[in-house]
């Protein structure tokens, strides 16, 4: 192997681990947000995405995303199965890392983004259909968009990043807008949960939600600065911006709630944190700390308002993937057009307030729209095909009884015998078959 930079390699390997942890973190966040009767299904959808997308990514996805570009739309299939890749390196001179470390780092993004979508279809999806969906989606939707934004091949690569020149540091299009738009399509195809807007569907465990939010924040400190692909000054800027934006958005969301509802909530803090981290994702390597603060505050306010849209418009995006990731991602992508500053990153650009004019904002807008249209329509097609063939939604009785028992033959909790009585019920028919 050509000489690699050990510090960058260590950094990227650690960041890979940090981002990987975000998927179990998301599983906790999502699992806590649903009712107890479907908590496991929610958790399992994330773990299944982890397993499935790991395999699809090394087999095909990585190559589709980072292989040689066809018209800026998608990579080729020369690097499947990671065969012959073990002694290759990735990166610019002086910052080379083993190629498989880059593959792994990108893999963790693909996994997380796929898992995010499950939030749109809580409580009602057939598990087998979800597994099938993740296989197809990770290859047909995720990999191409990753190619668009990050397939840099000297101006001959992905159309968003390499040709148009829109900026997306760590996944505003690839991860956030992509998941938001796809989630909307999924929510529309599967339809509303029984009892949507009528029954209480409050989070069954907010401590689990907060744990998930904490793990996600932690992981995001690898997700964003790791996207510098080196332990350098840009990573440092991305690191502190990530922190600032998340913090600003928490405060903004809590303030919004305090004013509108009279009380600031714990769930609001978790939601604000994620909104702020989402919004800074594309911007973290291109803006100054004060720019990050502005983006965070904007994301907190806009997303706090946006999560209510589903009730007005009537689509059941159960855990607000659209309102938080989609809308937050747009805030961040457009925020770059406003706040980007070459003082933060010489390889970046200047946005509106730093005298760069409307050019960058225009590019960012095109990137946003392109991602939205593609992700929404492709996901709608995939989900519809699955729904019309093997079915994507469980029977109404199964939904009412809860997908944990009906899809997985499990229940999340059995606290029997702990506080005030022991219960009840289960006896082994057969220890083992």
């Amino acid at each position: 192997m050509e000489s690699i930079n050990a510090a960058d390699t260590a950094w990227l390997m650690v960041c890979s681990a940090l981002v990987l942890l975000m998927t179990p973190g998301l599983a906790m966040l999502y699992g806590g947000m649903v009712r107890a009767k479907s908590a496991l299904n929610m958790v399992l959808m994330s773990f299944a995405a982890l397993a499935v997308v790991t395999i699809t990514w090394i087999m095909l996805g990585y190559s589709l995303a980072f292989g040689a570009s066809t018209w800026g739309l998608v990579g080729d299939l020369r690097e499947i199965g990671l065969v012959d890749m073990l002694d290759q390196t990735y990166g610019v001179e002086g910052h080379k890392v083993p190629m498989v470390v880059f593959v792994m780092f990108q893999l963790t993004f693909a996994v997380l983004t796929t898992a995010l979508l499950s939030g749109a279809i809580a409580d009602r999806a057939k598990f087998g259909s979800w597994v099938l969906f993740t296989i197809v989606w990770s290859l047909v939707v995720y990999a191409p968009i990753a190619h668009w934004a990050w397939g840099f091949q000297g101006g001959q690569g992905g159309w968003i990043g390499d040709r148009l020149g829109a900026l997306d540091f760590a996944g505003g299009t690839v991860v956030e807008i992509n998941s938001g738009a796809s989630a909307l399509a999924l929510a529309l195809v599967l339809g509303r949960r029984i009892g949507f807007r009528r029954d209480p569907m409050r989070p069954h465990s907010l401590p689990l939600v907060m744990l998930g939010a904490g793990l996600l924040w932690f992981g995001w400190l690898g997700f964003n600065p790791g996207s510098a692909l080196a332990a350098d000054g840009t990573a440092a800027v991305a690191l502190i911006n990530t922190q600032i934006s998340g913090a600003g958005a928490i405060l903004a969301w809590l303030l919004f709630e305090k004013i509108r509802d009279g009380k600031a909530t714990t769930f609001g803090a978790a939601s604000g944190a994620i909104a702020g981290l989402v919004a800074i994702t594309p911007a973290c390597g291109f803006v100054t700390p004060l720019g990050a603060l502005a983006i965070g505050i904007a994301a907190g306010l806009v997303c706090a308002w946006a999560v209510g849209l589903k009730y007005r418009l009537g689509f059941d995006d159960s855990l607000d993937v659209v309102g938080v990731h989609g809308v937050g991602g747009i805030v961040g992508m457009l925020g770059i057009g406003v706040f980007a500053a070459t003082v933060a990153n010489a390889a970046g650009a200047n946005g509106l307030v730093f005298g760069g004019g409307f050019g960058l904002l225009g590019k960012q807008t095109i990137a946003v729209l392109g991602t939205m249209v593609f992700a929404f329509s492709m996901t709608w097609v995939i989900a519809t095909i699955i729904d019309k063939t093997i079915g994507f939604r469980v029977d109404p009785e199964d939904e009412i009884a809860g997908v944990d028992t009906t899809q997985h033959a499990e229940s999340a909790y059995d606290y029997a015998g702990v506080s005030g009585g022991s219960v009840l019920g289960a006896h082994p028919v057969s220890g083992q078959r």
Partner: protein, 112 residues
């Protein structure tokens, strides 16, 4: 004075509450229960070991009412909680000798 006890399916609680409001009953005590009967439970599997969970989640409702209200209460419950699927539950009525409201010490009819 009578005590009407009903075991119903949990998701029917809201409907029963509404039926009570319609007939002017505005007090009751609710608790969790598990039912065993014709309605079967379900099977769970953990690392290949199968368990039959044969108790089904139910809600118990208790209403103290004047003798004259008993029929209306029972009818309201039966009307609201019925799904016509096995496991809809039971309602029963027992005699009560005395009722006291803790806050005031009022007794009998005035206590409910």
């Amino acid at each position: 004075m009578r005590l009407i006890t009903a075991i119903i399916k949990p998701f029917k609680l809201e409907a029963v509450k509404e039926a009570f409001q319609a007939i002017g009953i505005d007090g009751m005590t609710v608790s969790e229960a598990s039912g065993y009967g014709r309605q079967r439970g379900h099977v769970e599997v953990y690392r290949g070991a199968e368990y039959t969970v044969d108790l089904v989640p139910k809600v118990r409702i208790e209403i103290l009412a004047d003798e004259s209200d008993v029929d209306r209460v029972v009818d309201a419950i039966v009307g609201a909680a019925r799904t016509e699927k096995i496991g809809d539950g039971k309602v029963w009525v027992t005699p009560v000798e005395r009722v006291v409201r803790v806050r005031t010490g009022e007794q009998g009819h005035d206590a409910i």
